[in-house]
Amino acid sequence: MQQKLPLARLETIANDIREDIIRMLEHAGSGHSAGPLGLADIFTALYFDVMKYDPKDPAWEERDILLLSNGHCVPVQYATMAHAGFFERKELMTLRQLGSRLQGHPERTKLPGLENTSGPLGCGLSQACGMALAMRLDKRLQRRIYVVMGDGEQDEGNVWEAAMLASKYQLSNIVAITDRNNIQIDGPTEKVMPLEDLHAKWQAFGWHVIEINGNDIEAVIDACAMAKAIVEKPVMILAHTVPGKGVDFMEYDFNWHGKPPDHQQAVKALHELRTLGGRIRSEHE
């Protein structure tokens, strides 16, 4: 992105992305709601402020890389990519259908602009390590690699294997963002498999840790800028988000981790998003 967009504009984009997520999931009839809604601000910040890329040339060699490690949250990435000009928004309605480029979990070979195939958890950081090591050999360290990870996926041992490697090789062009929304399929993360003290864990693994409100777009942008100043360590941004953000009956409820809204729920959710929770009047009504 060349020109910096004002914060109000970014917030509108994030809201539009949330509305598209609701429409896509309702239409698909399956998929994950809470995570994608909670990640809309982070994805807006990444695609509309932080990252360097060209939607008309997804293979551009100087582009920054975004790896979505928790692939089940891909509806937020598809919606954001459509708003960023990778493809038309109407294609969003093909999510999870036979022949669609928008697979239920992201498949790189199907859709230009995706950097990895994911879904099975815990792999994104390892792939980022490989990419960062290759960039170092090619002396292209100005390229940055953003890895969006779930908190639940940090139950996976593979995550910590990668954490050690990134630290050993001082892969400072990796910026990982943990979507710390405290829920996973079976319930609250701290009940399913306690992760805390997550901050201390990443620090102990040799990472620079920044903790932010992940639903504050400005905070995400600032944290990514701060990460550029860290040159000897990889950076972990622990982004506290509200699962289901923007739709009050979904917020904080782990039951919305893995299911889509039905028609009535979608209407209710879209009304709430359009009116920002009743604070403004929707032009649709």
């Binding site: 879904g119 792999c123 792939q127 390590c129 490989g130 090591l133 050999l137 593979n158 990668a162 050690m164």
Partner: protein
């Protein structure tokens, strides 16, 4: 036999571990192409990556004992245009990290070169945990994956160089113990090709990896029994060279397979699938019979589990007995 440029088995054979050929091949591949990189999970000498590491320290990545991370890092390296070779013992890679290989390498279509050393019971005293027997089956079921088991160190060297130029994900299976060198610099090797190492009209012996030498020895013994065996060496188990295999089976009508691994899902499984659909013929499979290995000296174990020329010869007699009489 002459057009294959093989060593005469009657003479004194040089013996060398197959993995040594990989070490030389990787070094040569690294010299030819700057994009070749290597990663290892704490077994750099054992897997013979040490030659490459000494020559190209910057292009070598020590992953530590973390095989899941290793192959997934390989996926990332390949994404940036590198040609990554990643090695460990076959029991751990591809034994432990199958799903990462499936998702981030095969489905993601990244040309990572997975090298599994110390396959088979001939690992010896380390015992069943380290004697990988299921790797061929595990890798063979993955779409996009190429599976290669060279018969000697020289062929391993050629296979490694060919893998560096191949655009697909590859699995290379290596063995620990010294194995007779039966090929020469002139013996052809191409990924996806099977080779007739000995001509015969009575029975087809199809072998891969360390068992190809044993099949050639068995063919010699069978000749003395009055049976002319055709030995088809199958270094590439996937994709299978069906044409070469079927041509031989159409001639002989009976088949024995031989491998140092599980017959279930391995080379024996692959040949059984091919024959059942294309050319039903009596078949006997020599290999591990749905069981695990145990500690012992390599030669003792090969005999104990029936993985030698003697058992291939017995299987050939058995399958000839099963041949329908016209």
């Amino acid at each position: 036999m002459s057009e294959m440029h093989l060593i005469d088995l009657g003479g004194k054979l040089e013996q060398e571990p197959i993995r040594k050929g990989f070490g030389r091949g990787l070094l040569a591949a690294g010299q030819r192409d700057i994009h070749v990189v290597a990663a290892c999970a704490d077994l750099t000498d054992s897997t013979q990556m040490s030659l490459f590491k000494a020559e190209f320290p910057d292009r070598f990545i020590e992953i530590g004992v973390a095989e899941q991370n290793m192959v997934t890092v390989g996926s990332g390296l390949a994404a940036m245009g590198k040609i990554p070779f990643v090695s460990s013992y076959a029991a751990f890679s591809p034994g432990r990290n199958w799903e990462q290989i499936r998702t981030t390498i095969c489905l993601n279509d990244r040309p990572v070169k997975i090298v599994g050393s110390h396959a088979g019971v001939s690992v010896g005293p380390d015992g069943a945990t380290h004697q990988m027997l299921e790797d061929i089956a595990l890798m063979r079921v993955l779409p996009n994956m190429v599976v290669i088991a060279p018969c000697d160190s020289l062929e391993a060297e050629k296979a490694t160089l060919a893998m560096a130029e191949d655009k697909r994900p590859n699995y290379l299976r290596l063995a620990r113990e010294a194995t007779p060198v039966i090929t020469t610099a002139k013996t052809p090797f191409e990924i996806g090709k099977a080779y007739v190492f000995a001509k015969g009209a009575d029975v087809t012996l199809i072998a891969t990896g360390t068992m190809t030498y044993q099949a050639l020895v068995a063919a010699d013994k069978l000749y003395k029994d009055g049976i002319e065996a055709e030995v088809v060496h199958v270094p590439t188990i996937k994709p299978l060279d069906s044409a070469t295999i079927l041509k031989s089976v159409q001639k002989t009508g009976v088949v024995v397979t031989a491998e140092e691994g599980q017959i279930v899902g391995g080379l024996g499984g692959a040949i059984a699938e091919l024959l059942a659909e294309e050319c039903p013929a009596p078949l006997r499979r020599v290999g591990m019979l749905d069981r695990y290995g145990e500690s012992g000296a390599p030669a003792e174990l090969l005999e104990h589990f029936g993985l030698d020329a003697k058992h291939i010869r017995l299987a050939a007699h058995a399958v000839l007995d099963a041949k329908p009489k016209n």
